[in-house]
Structures are given as C-alpha cells and as structure tokens.
C-alpha cells in the first residue's frame, strides 16, 4: 500500500495518520519535532510492515487535546487508538517522547502490543547526567545540538534545506506547545516509570546515538537494565535522531529485530 494520509476519530480527537506498507501492523510514535511521515527509514520498514504513523493529539494536523496533562495520558490514548484502528496486537516503535509514550503503554498493558522498539526515548531521569532543556534554546542552536553532524544526514536538504513556510512555523509552535503541556514538569521524565518497566517482558530493542546531546545514552543503559528482555544498540557518530541521521542502519536494525522469533 502506498503511503497515504487519513483522519481517524478517537475519543473525540481527530487523529491525522500516515499509513502505508505491507505485513504485520507496526505503530510508530513520533518525537517532539512532530510527524515527518514516510521518510527514508520508514519507507524501508514499510516494505515489511504495515506502518501506522499517527500525529499525536495537539501536534501537527491532529485535533487539540488541551485536557491532556502528561505522557501517560497520551499512552492511554494510544492504547485506545490500537483498539479503534483494529490493529490487533501491533509492534510498537516510538522515538524520543514517542519512545517514552511507547514505554508507558508497554508498562500499562504489555499484552496489548507485540515487540517494542524504543529509539532515544525520554521518560527516565538520567542517573548522572541531565536531559537537555529543549525549551531553553533558540531553534538554530537546538537543532545543532539535536544531531551529531548535519553533513552525514542524507535527507538534510529535504528536511531542513529551505526556510519553513508560515504553515510549517505554526505547526512547529503547536508541536512545541503540546510537548510543553505533556513534559514540562517533571521535565521529560516520569519518576514512577522505572518501577513499572520490569513488568514488560516483551522482546524490546533500544536504539541510541552515542553522541545524543538531548537524552544521554546512559538512559539507554537504564532502560536495558529495567526491561527484562531488552537489547541496546548504540550507533556511533549519531545524535538524538537516529532515524534521520542513520536511516539505513535504523531500518535494518528494526526489520531484523521485528523479524525475529515471535513472542
């Protein structure tokens, strides 16, 4: 199925969804930067899996959800989404705050999903370092800190090569506001999440960039220790956006992991 966009109503919220590919369903939850749709890594993954990539409520072209307060609200919402979209027991992949959301969903209802992929997820308080305060820095400075080296990014021109349109600026502001709504305090983590992660026995893959300056790679070690059946794959020369920075490597890791023995 060619990637296409549609809108689904869940709990009174109109959810914008990118959908495409073939194979077992894979739910993909985006990060604070918003839903980039079928970029290079996701097109590769969609050759093997039917990808559902919704835009979080309050982000992009999805409807408002001013009543949400925390990422666990978003997690409960997506458990509902899985039922509403009749996805059965999909694989679940989340990136950054989407990864945090995926971890919360798995902890709330481990049997609602099959395999779990967390890409640079927020959600845990680093044991020694800090999660960068992404609201504190001007956009150009933040972008420079988000990726390791723009020169190595194959889609840099398509994604960032021209100034944003007014509509894109409006969406970026919306994305930031909803991120603040969900993750302002405690900043980008849930102090209780660590207590629930040992419940998640689903096979889990954790992917991290060694040079991540947003969420330190030590959080990847923490997730690996807390999830009973997880492996951690650290990409060298990579920052906070592995699917953009190393799309081919990430797609291969994800396909290999999901194609393993079913749980």
């Amino acid at each position: 199925m060619e990637p296409r966009e549609e809108t689904m109503s869940v709990g009174g919220v109109d959810v914008h969804v990118w959908k495409g590919g073939r194979g077992d369903p894979l739910l993909v939850l985006h990060g604070a930067g918003g839903n980039r749709g079928f970029t290079r890594w996701l097109r590769q993954v969609a050759e093997r899996y039917t990808v559902w990539a919704p835009t979080h409520p309050g982000f992009g072209r999805s409807g408002d959800a001013d009543w949400m307060e925390t990422v666990d609200d978003l997690a409960r919402f997506y458990l509902w989404f899985i039922e509403a979209a009749a996805l059965g027991r999909p694989h679940l992949l989340g990136q950054s705050i989407g990864g945090w959301t995926a971890a919360e969903m798995a902890a709330m209802s481990p049997r609602a999903i099959d395999r779990l992929v967390l890409v640079s997820p927020a959600g845990l308080k680093p044991e020694t370092g800090e999660i960068l305060d992404v609201f504190y820095y001007p956009a150009p400075q933040l972008r420079a800190m988000t990726v390791h080296d723009p020169k190595t990014i194959p889609e840099w021109e398509e994604l960032y090569g021209r100034p944003p349109t007014p509509a894109e600026i409006e969406i970026a502001t919306r994305n930031q506001e909803m991120t603040a709504r969900l993750a302002w305090k405690p900043y980008m983590h849930n102090p209780r999440l660590a207590h629930f992660l040992p419940r998640v026995t689903n096979p889990a893959l954790i992917v991290w960039g060694r040079e991540d300056r947003i969420v330190p790679v030590e959080c990847g070690e923490q997730y690996r220790r807390l999830l009973p059946n997880a492996t951690l794959s650290v990409l060298e020369g990579c920052g906070h956006l592995p699917p953009i920075e190393q799309p081919d490597a990430v797609a291969r890791l994800v396909i290999d992991f999901l194609g393993g023995t079913r749980s």
Binding site: Y136, E177, A180, W184, K185
Partner: protein, 377 residues
C-alpha cells in the same frame, strides 16, 4: 492625575563587562556577583527613598517583584508592602504586582496581601500580573497554563477576600479542601485591583470586563491607545463606564535642579531598556505562555526594541523624562492629554542612580511637580 513613585531596587554593583559574558543578566548571570553587604545597605537606602516619596506627597508607592536578576532584587512584593505599610503614613501602596500564574498557594497570597492592607491601614492597591517568562522558568511553572492559572488564582484570591469561610476549592490547577483565612483585608469588599499590560489584548479586555485599573508599561502612545480600546471593549461588554481613574501609564522620570543634571541622571534608565532586557526570546516568552494573538500584537507593539533606541530617542518618545521640574510637569501634562489617564507611574530610580540624586528628585517632584498635577484630569 495621581503620581506614583517606583524603584525596582536594582543591584547593579558589578562590572558590566562580566554581565556581557552571559546570554542574559536574567537566569544566567551567576549569583556569585550578588553582594549581601551591598544588598543590605541598598534595601535601607531604597526604603528611605520610598519613605521620602510618601512625605513628599506622591499619591502612591509602587513596588514590583522579579527573580533571578540583578535588575530587581525586590523578590517579595508582599513582604515589601508590609514594610512600607509600617514605615509610611499616607500614600497608597501599589503592588504591581503579585505574579499569579507562578503562585502555588493563592490562599497564602490572599492572606499576605490582606495582612499588608491591615498593617498599612487599608492603603494597598493589589496589582495582579502574568509575569515575564523569566519568572516562569524560576518557578518552573508550565507556561502553557499561564493564562489559566492567572485567572484561577485571581478567582480564588477574590473568593478568599469576599466569601465567608470555610469553603472548598476544587479547580483545575488549585485544590484546597479547607479554605478559611484568618486574615482579611481592611478595605471592603477588597483592595482595588490593578493590572499592567504590554502586549496582550486578552489581558486588556479581561481587566476592562472587571473594571480594574489598567496600566500599559513603556509602550508608544498609539499602542497604549490601542490597548485602552481593548480595555473599553471589555468594559462595554460588561456595561461599565471607563473613567480616567481606570487608566494608568508607566514611564521613567527624574528631575534635578538643572536640566543638565537631570539629563545626566536620566541616563541610568537606559540600563533597564537594553542590558537588563537582553535575553533569548525563550527566556522572556517561553513556548505557549502567550496566545498567538498576543504574540502578533507584541510584534506590532514593539516595532523597534527599546534597546535599539538611543537615549535621545527614548526621551523624544516619552519613555524617559529627565528635566527641570517645570519641564517635567509639562511633559506629564502632555502625556495626560494624549492618553486621558488618571494615574502616572514613575520608575524614578534605576541602575546606578545614586542616593542623593534620587532623594533630590523626589524632593523636587514633591515641591514643584505634584502640586500642578491636581489640575489635570
């Protein structure tokens, strides 16, 4: 027209080149440059100046509150109000004001303002503000809740002052099972409420609907008029008549025995127009704190930043008035005529303006400017 004396109680006793090493004097400038001995003597000095302003005949003494910045070390507006309530005798005490969205306990705020009102013999004018972004960072309050918390905190403070306790409050942001403050304002039904504005049409409308005194800070005349129009729109919605007593304006002003001396003293206000406001946008206006309409209005309201204006331009545009008492009185009369206001708030000390200069300015205002104000408005 009534005149109000105001100092931000700055702590500008550090080398300016040190400040320039940081992205802003707010939040980032390390507090190792805070000098407790100097701050202790500054408080005495600033309070002496307020005391003289009371004696000199100012109608009101305005105080404000900021955090994490040398531009204002008045970190507790209710604490200062209580001190002024005891050391002054006559002038109103204008708190402009308490920063509602960052307050986690509106009941305590209601008690503290009430206590200041009682100590001062009913002289408190209770200003409520949304605060600049810096205070949101300082308090770590979610900026997307700024307006909701402003309004809910306001509603709970008013209820504390006007509804008999005990009562329960289960709101969206505030939850109190037993509200029964044993400290209520002397003024009935409650102290007058004031609201400042710089760029938010919503705040002007909101204040107009409630008949609160509304005061734009350091904006061009045409922007002040536009904000007053929003205020009138809100007042009309509630069927209220707007009088000069509902409207105020804030500028910087100093006088001296000669024009040259006043101009020299007035240069100290330039610090608050540029260096103390220098900051990334994110510090002053974190994401979600302002509405889209507020953001758009803010862009129009500041076609040129105050920091980009020369001292001479700041004087020409009435952001700063620095001259002999006669000329100062003329400029105040001009502002009154342009804006139709009943209250003029004077930021009358800044930066390194010294104590003798400040005291002399207060004396001259009292002797030669204040007596001419009664004929206005």
């Amino acid at each position: 027209m009534k005149l109000y004396y105001f100092s931000e109680m700055p702590h500008h006793e550090f080398p300016d080149e040190e400040g320039l090493k940081y992205p802003s004097l707010r939040l980032e400038f390390p507090n190792r440059f805070f000098n407790p001995a100097i701050a202790a003597s500054n408080y005495q000095r600033y309070l002496d100046e307020y005391e003289l302003a009371d004696q000199a005949g100012f109608d009101g003494l305005m105080i404000n509150e900021h955090h994490s910045t040398p531009s204002c070390v008045n970190v507790g507006v209710n604490m200062t109000a209580a001190v002024l309530g005891r050391i002054t005798r006559r002038a109103k005490i204008l708190l402009l004001g308490n920063i509602l969205p960052i307050e986690d306990n509106p009941v305590r705020m209601a008690e503290q303002i009430a206590m200041a009102d009682l100590i001062s013999g009913g002289r408190v004018l209770s200003g409520f503000v949304r605060g600049v972004g810096v205070e949101t960072w300082w308090a770590n309050t979610n900026p997307v809740h700024n307006r909701e918390r402003f309004e809910e905190c306001h509603d709970l403070v008013l209820k504390c002052w006007t509804d008999p306790g005990p009562f329960r409050w289960e709101g969206k942001h505030y939850h109190f099972r037993h509200v029964n403050p044993w400290c209520l304002p002397l003024q009935k039904p409650h102290p007058p409420i004031w609201v400042p504005g710089t760029a938010s049409p919503e705040t002007a409308i909101w204040a107009g609907q409630r008949g609160y005194t509304y005061v734009p800070f350091l904006v061009p005349f045409d922007i002040a008029r536009e904000l007053f129009d929003y205020y009138r729109q809100g007042a009309a919605e509630a069927g209220r008549t707007v009088t000069p007593d509902n409207l105020g304006f804030l500028i910087c002003a100093v006088t001296a025995d000669t024009r040259a001396k006043a101009l020299e003293a007035g240069r100290h206000f330039v610090w608050r127009m540029g260096p103390t406001l220098r900051a990334p946008l994110e510090f002053m206006s974190p994401v979600g704190m302002r509405s889209r309409a507020g953001n758009q209005f803010a862009l129009r309201a500041r076609p040129r930043s105050l920091a980009a204006m020369s001292y001479e331009e700041l004087i020409a545009e009435h952001f700063i008035i620095a001259s002999t008492p006669d000329e100062v009185a003329d400029r105040f009369a001009h502002i009154q005529k342009e804006l139709g206001i009943g209250h003029l708030l004077l930021e009358a000390q800044e930066s390194r303006m010294d104590h003798p200069t400040t005291m002399r300015s207060i004396e001259l205002m009292g002797a030669k400017v204040i007596p001419t104000m009664g004929a206005l408005a």
